[in-house]
């Protein structure tokens, strides 16, 4: 793994793709050239120290020197970030965490994403060899809150699930996952890679254990340093040997290694 680098990126474009959902394109050649799917950036949101901490955000799709951060406005930090405009600079540390390592011998790879959880898996979709079979599930509240541009949504061949039935399957992503798995022929050996709300991840883990399907999860927890120095980002290990650090050991874990059932996930 390459050690974290610091880069001052230049905002190229900032778009509100749906209410409170922002997509910022940032010219950051060093980060763009080394980042791999699953890694994140620790982003300075204020020029001063209020709010004090950086915000961890997945590094989204990369094109040439430009990477994207796609995020929901949740509080003050993401609000400040959404106020960045073309020509502004942005202080980034990255790429942090381990890239997603997709184990061999599985097909299809099922991306199970909810809302903004789609971001890290978009790069994986882009970086995975084209011949690998994949199914891309994305759950949203409604057709009006999709975390992608229309052209991207088309290009990715997504199976949609929506809470209100306004787009694709009417119901949650885990139910749709079950339908997808039930439809696979017996010789298939699927692998699920999931990122999204805690409820979805827990439901997915339970289902995958019942069906004996291996699964990976990308986790979000509050962070201090982002580089493994402060021990703020702990998640409980299922072997009872204390905690893993999401920034250093993750952010992607084998579901079986983490006590997702009791982990505190925002």
């Amino acid at each position: 793994m390459i050690p974290p680098i610091a880069e001052i990126g230049l905002v190229r474009e900032s778009i509100e793709i749906s209410p409170n959902l922002w997509d910022i394109s940032i010219e950051a050649p060093r980060l763009a050239s080394v980042t791999r799917a699953g890694q994140f950036a620790h982003v300075r949101v204020s020029a001063g120290f209020d709010p004090f901490l950086r915000r961890p955000l997945s590094i989204g799709p990369i094109a040439g020197d430009v990477l994207r951060l796609i995020f929901h406005i949740r509080g003050e930090g993401t609000r400040l970030l959404a106020a960045k405009r073309s020509g502004d600079t942005i202080d980034l540390i990255g790429p942090l965490g381990h890239p997603i390592n997709v184990p061999k011998g599985h097909n299809p790879i099922i991306f199970l994403t909810g809302g903004i959880g789609v971001v890290p898996l978009q790069i994986l979709d882009d970086q995975m060899p084209k011949e690998r079979e994949r199914v891309f599930i994305l759950g949203v509240r409604s057709a009006f809150t999709i975390p992608l541009s229309l052209s991207e949504a088309m290009q990715r061949n997504i199976l949609w699930a929506s809470d209100d039935g306004s787009l694709g399957y009417h119901g949650n992503t885990v139910q749709l996952l079950k339908n997808v798995v039930d439809g696979l022929s017996a010789d298939k050996k699927p692998l699920v890679i999931a990122c999204g709300p805690a409820g979805m991840l827990r439901g997915m883990k339970k289902f995958c254990i019942e069906r004996n399907i291996p699964s990976l999860v990308s986790l979000e927890v509050p962070m201090g340093c982002g580089v493994g120095a402060c021990q703020s980002c702990a998640v409980p290990r299922s072997d009872g040997k204390g905690y893993y650090l999401v920034c250093k050991d993750g952010p992607v874990f084998d579901c079986l290694d983490i006590l997702l059932e009791t982990a505190s996930l925002p």
Binding site: I5, A6, F52
Partner: protein, 306 residues
């Protein structure tokens, strides 16, 4: 930069007064690619205990409006043996002074950890953490009792000739008796202060933001408290004071020097701005030039009376 940043403390020369705050910098390796060691006079590592400590139940960190951070790490560390086996080799002992922070639940535990660490080469000394708010035993409970402080420092002094800083809690109105107990029993410096006990609640869910409900409050809001404690301690004892609490820029450092500090610890600021050490020295240099100050030592305790 034209200012002379060298400071002498209890027989050691530090190339600058800047140090890291224990627990915000790990053992130095994680930040290697981001932080330049050159601006630091020394680093203080994450507190080590006899046995490994897994740490507190998450969430372990939250923010407060106004630039504060509250943590509940619970002194998670690999224990002194694993540290010696895995981490000790990576410390930059040649170029930078290294101080190993020690935590114990009892006086014996402090002594046990220190005697194991005494086997290491190139270490300049220790910081005794007598003030962690996030653990049930040890920490504040030893650090609030001057006879327990006296005994811990005396026993540790018996086994080392190296520098011993003693880190105290802000949770006592009378600083002098605690400071004197450390100074009279062989402390080389006092670190003022560890975090304050603090707490945040999410009113929507009625849940505390930390797994242990309360935690240690650091960042901008801690600075006035730390300044007052540094000033009180510097009046009470003759040994140098290491300031810790809310330092984010050069003028914060000048304030602490004027209040009587000789060492200046950068803590939470390293999370937001790992490049702050270089910036802070430049800001101090700028102040010194504006005020005709040739050496930062001229500023230590140079507070004007109101």
């Amino acid at each position: 930069m034209t200012t002379d940043f060298n400071v002498a403390m209890s027989g050691l020369n530090f190339r600058t007064p800047l140090l890291t705050g224990s627990g915000t910098f790990g053992y130095g390796d994680e930040f290697l690619s981001l932080i330049d060691y050159a601006p630091f006079g020394g680093i203080v590592t994450k507190s080590l205990s006899v046995r490994p400590r897994p740490g507190n139940p998450p969430p372990r960190i939250c923010e407060t409006p106004g630039g504060g951070v509250i943590n509940s790490i619970g002194l998670a560390n690999p224990g002194v043996e694993a540290f010696l086996a895995e981490k000790a080799g990576i410390l930059p002992v040649k170029e930078t002074k290294v101080f190993l922070s020690i935590f114990g639940e009892t006086v014996e535990e402090f002594v046990t950890v220190m005697s194991r660490l005494e086997t290491l080469e190139g270490i300049s000394g220790y910081e005794l953490n007598l003030s962690c708010p996030n653990v049930k035993q040890g920490g504040i409970s030893i650090g609030g009792d001057s006879s327990a402080i006296a005994e811990t420092v005396r026993e540790c002094r018996n086994i080392t000739d190296k520098f011993i800083a003693v880190k105290l809690t802000p949770h006592h109105t009378q600083v002098a008796p605690l400071a004197e107990a450390a100074a009279k029993n062989g402390a080389s410096a006092l670190t003022m202060i560890n975090t304050l006990v603090g707490m945040m609640i999410d009113v929507e869910t009625r849940m505390p933001l930390l797994g242990t409900v309360t935690g240690g409050y650091s960042g901008l809001p801690l600075k006035p408290v730390a300044l007052a404690k540094v000033w009180q301690a510097s009046k009470a004892v003759d040994i140098p004071i290491w300031a810790s609490g809310g330092i984010v820029n050069g003028l914060d450092c000048i304030e602490f020097l004027l209040a009587g500090a000789t060492g200046l610890q950068l803590g939470s600021v390293l999370f937001a701005d790992p490049y702050s050490p270089g910036r802070i020295l430049e800001e101090m240099d700028d102040y010194c030039r504006r005020h005709g100050v040739k050496s930062v030592e001229e500023l230590i305790g140079a507070l004007e009376k109101p």
